[in-house]
């Protein structure tokens, strides 16, 4: 039982949960969050791939990739949330 096995399983589970949420969730905010869950799950898998037994240091390239992924994900989330705000306003005006 090493951390890579435990957290590899966690990553797969989180990715799966996120996928289910992204396809099945009923409200928009939750779908965006579900996609973010997917990205965290993928981050887990990349980091597990980079992990080495403690005396040796982990592989820095996947680490850099995950950081890039986090930044890109926050950009995507910002755009998605702005779209949600716009949609809310439009719908609210329609009902008015």
């Amino acid at each position: 039982m090493t951390p890579d096995l435990i957290y590899g399983a966690t990553g797969i589970a989180v990715f799966g949960i996120g996928l289910v949420g992204a396809l099945c969730a009923q409200d928009r905010l939750r779908r965006v969050l579900a996609l973010k869950l997917c990205s965290v799950g993928a981050g887990f898998l990349l980091l597990v791939g980079a992990w080495r037994e403690p005396p040796s240091t982990p592989d820095p390239v996947p680490h850099a990739l995950v950081i890039t992924g986090i930044v890109v994900m926050v950009s995507a989330t910002a755009v998605a949330l702005a779209l949600i705000r716009r949609l809310q306003t439009l719908e609210a005006e329609d009902e008015h």
Partner: protein
């Protein structure tokens, strides 16, 4: 005999999965966002266990902090819109058109298949051979910095990082265009205790954010993490109403963003800090 750290890892893993399920299941949107923030922080803790402190810092600051602020802003806007109409529960506005149960089931089955495939691929992958760490260690003297993750981000894969700064810029421009003419929910009045906190915290956040940026050259830290701290400064200023966004300032802000990206193209690692600030 199981080592205590393994028990800790297992507990942490279970917590993460439980929190992820809770994000999908909680009915109250505010509770969902709070649980999501906790999920991000606990995953960051797990990433420290995978000896990736840089990534954990980035996830805590950007993936959880900035994202959480954006989510709360969206929820605030949502409640503002619904409150102004005085009807129509908050859920109604975020909800999408109902989907037939059969489609839902098909989707779930599809997800299950993909996840299963992922698991098979993960377990069937060959045992971890040597990755890039040898190559990175060889090239480290040429990079001019002492921390390997920073070297990969800013030196060896600089085009990749440039791309991500451009993505940030594109996102900021897209958000500006989408929100053009949208009536903003006013920032809440927070009171004197909050003002006192901001007065104390603002300068320290600036200094600590800059320190993170500086220390990225040799230890965990870096431009994006420091940039997220500086983004927090902007948020604090908005929440204290010390700065009220005005249409006239937009051109100035746009210029600053484009300049930041241009500065990064010119090769300065400091250009990266400009990007996250706008979010």
């Amino acid at each position: 005999m199981i080592a205590p750290l393994v028990i800790f890892d297992l507990l942490l893993a279970l917590t993460i999965v439980a929190l992820a399920v809770a994000v999908l299941c909680l009915r109250d949107l505010f509770a969902m966002i709070v649980v999501f923030i906790i999920f991000g922080l606990v995953s960051a803790l797990a990433w420290v266990r995978l000896s990736a402190p840089d990534v954990a810092l980035a996830e805590a600051a950007i993936g959880t902090g900035v994202t959480g602020a954006l989510l709360l802003k969206t929820l605030h806007h949502l409640r503002y819109v619904t409150g102004r109409l005085g009807q129509n529960a908050a859920r109604g506005l975020t909800a999408m058109a109902p989907v037939p149960v059969a489609v839902l089931l098909a989707n779930a089955a599809f997800c299950g298949l993909i996840t299963l495939g992922l698991a098979v691929a993960f377990l069937g992958a060959p045992a971890a051979g040597p990755g890039f760490e040898g190559l990175v260690a060889q090239a480290m003297p040429q990079s001019g910095v002492e921390h390997s993750v920073t070297a990969v981000l800013l030196n060896f894969r600089a085009y990749d990082t440039l791309m991500e700064v451009v993505v940030l810029l594109a996102a900021v421009i897209a958000v500006w265009q989408i929100e053009r003419g949208l009536s903003e929910a006013p920032a809440p009045v927070m009171g004197v205790v909050w003002q006192g906190f901001a007065r104390l915290a603002l300068p320290v956040i600036v200094v600590v954010g800059t320190y993170l940026l500086w220390v990225g050259a040799e230890a965990p830290g870096g431009a994006f993490q420091g940039g997220a701290m500086l983004a927090a400064v902007g948020l604090l200023l908005l929440l204290t109403r010390a700065y009220v966004p005005q249409p006239g300032h937009r051109g100035l802000a746009r210029g600053a963003f484009v300049l930041g990206t241009a500065a990064f193209c010119a090769g300065g690692p400091s250009g990266g800090q400009r990007g996250p600030r706008g979010l």
